[in-house]
Symmetry: C2
Subunit: 220 residues, 2 copies
């Protein structure tokens, strides 16, 4: 039986959802390593919809689960319909969706609120010692959830000083990483990588995510 | 100077736009082979918008260029703003968008109409002997454009008998291919692969697209 990795999506598109290259590279790396991806997302409206050509907010409303289904080719479940005991680990791709729809770090920084279902799911993994992987800005979400419980995780979002400072304020330790490095918190079983926080190269992002997935597999 | 490959997108999501895994795998393979991807799309409305959870058409209207920008992280141009002399080749990912938004093969089969800007662009490449790569259902679009001019291309969409029959009706020769095979029309410089027409495995799709891109590079 393949190990089941919940891939937590946050919409479809870097500026208001999951970063598509990161999400697809994660699905590809997981499959290559023999791990079964279970795509999941919260069934809530996006914070907003962004025109990806000019960066402006539009008048549209879109649902995080429904847009995330585009990445999953329709094979997706709402987080509320998932029993965490059926998952062996989680993987969070980045993109602004992780900081706008799964939590509101993009708006409130270190004081951010977290989607309750995402928080319950992450807490269930922390409680059972199951690994959590996150890339790009998504490690901020993990730092917040763990930090609220006094768990001092060690994570990276690359080397952006403002984001690193916010992560420290949430109770985590920030590890500066280059794009060919990852941070491994062996105690709390959390693996993070900078991905598009540190580069504009899809090949570097793919390699960084592969590093994260390989380490995740070793930890299972 | 890297060779420039126009990646023709058709929206964002398998059921009404570009298939996301194919599009991202194409961008990744092109980058790995040292080819520069120039993302382009027609600035037109999508045929329709499909809810990717239940497959139903929604009331929304979305623009092909704007949605395609999600795959391109905002770095995209309208086809009308591209001079074909500045491109060295084209790559068409699949997804229903190729058969709904770039042409209407999904509705009209072998009698399909083609978006005029896409048709002009493909014709410019055929006229100048520049290579065209296409995967999944997108080879049907190439068969149609070339067939209207009496150019008998050799393409594959895998081994689906109905699609193969429609391709033959449009004036092309259909080559049955397995998921680890590609069809190479050396005379007309067209390279095609079945991708998601033949499998549900992202690893097989990525490998098939890599085959296509490697052959495309050899042809440049």
């Amino acid at each position: 039986m393949s190990k089941k990795i919940g891939v937590v999506l946050s919409g479809s598109g870097v500026y208001d959802g999951s970063e598509l290259h990161e999400a697809v590279c994660a699905l590809l790396s997981l499959a290559r390593e023999g791990l079964k991806a279970i795509c999941i997302a919260p069934d809530v409206d996006q914070m907003h919809v962004v025109d990806h050509i000019n960066g402006e907010t539009t008048e549209e409303r879109r649902n995080v689960l429904r847009e995330s289904a585009r990445i999953a080719r329709g094979e997706i479940k709402a987080i509320e319909d998932i029993n965490p005991t059926n998952l062996d680990a989680l993987f969070f791709p980045g993109g602004f969706g992780a900081a706008k729809n799964l939590c509101n770090f993009a708006v409130k920084g270190s004081e951010c609120d977290v989607n309750p279902e995402v928080e319950s799911l992450v807490n269930a993994m922390l409680d059972s010692g199951k690994p959590i992987a996150a890339v790009c800005i998504a490690p901020a979400l993990i730092a917040r959830i763990a930090g609220k419980r006094g768990i001092r995780t060690e994570v990276t979002i690359g080397n952006d000083p403002d984001a690193a400072d916010a992560i420290e304020k949430m109770g985590a330790r920030h590890i500066n990483c280059a794009i060919n490095e990852i941070a491994v918190d062996s105690k709390n079983r959390i693996i993070t990588g900078p991905a598009y926080m540190m580069t504009s190269s899809i090949t570097e992002v793919a390699a960084n995510i592969e590093q994260v997935v390989v380490r995740l597999k070793e930890m299972l």
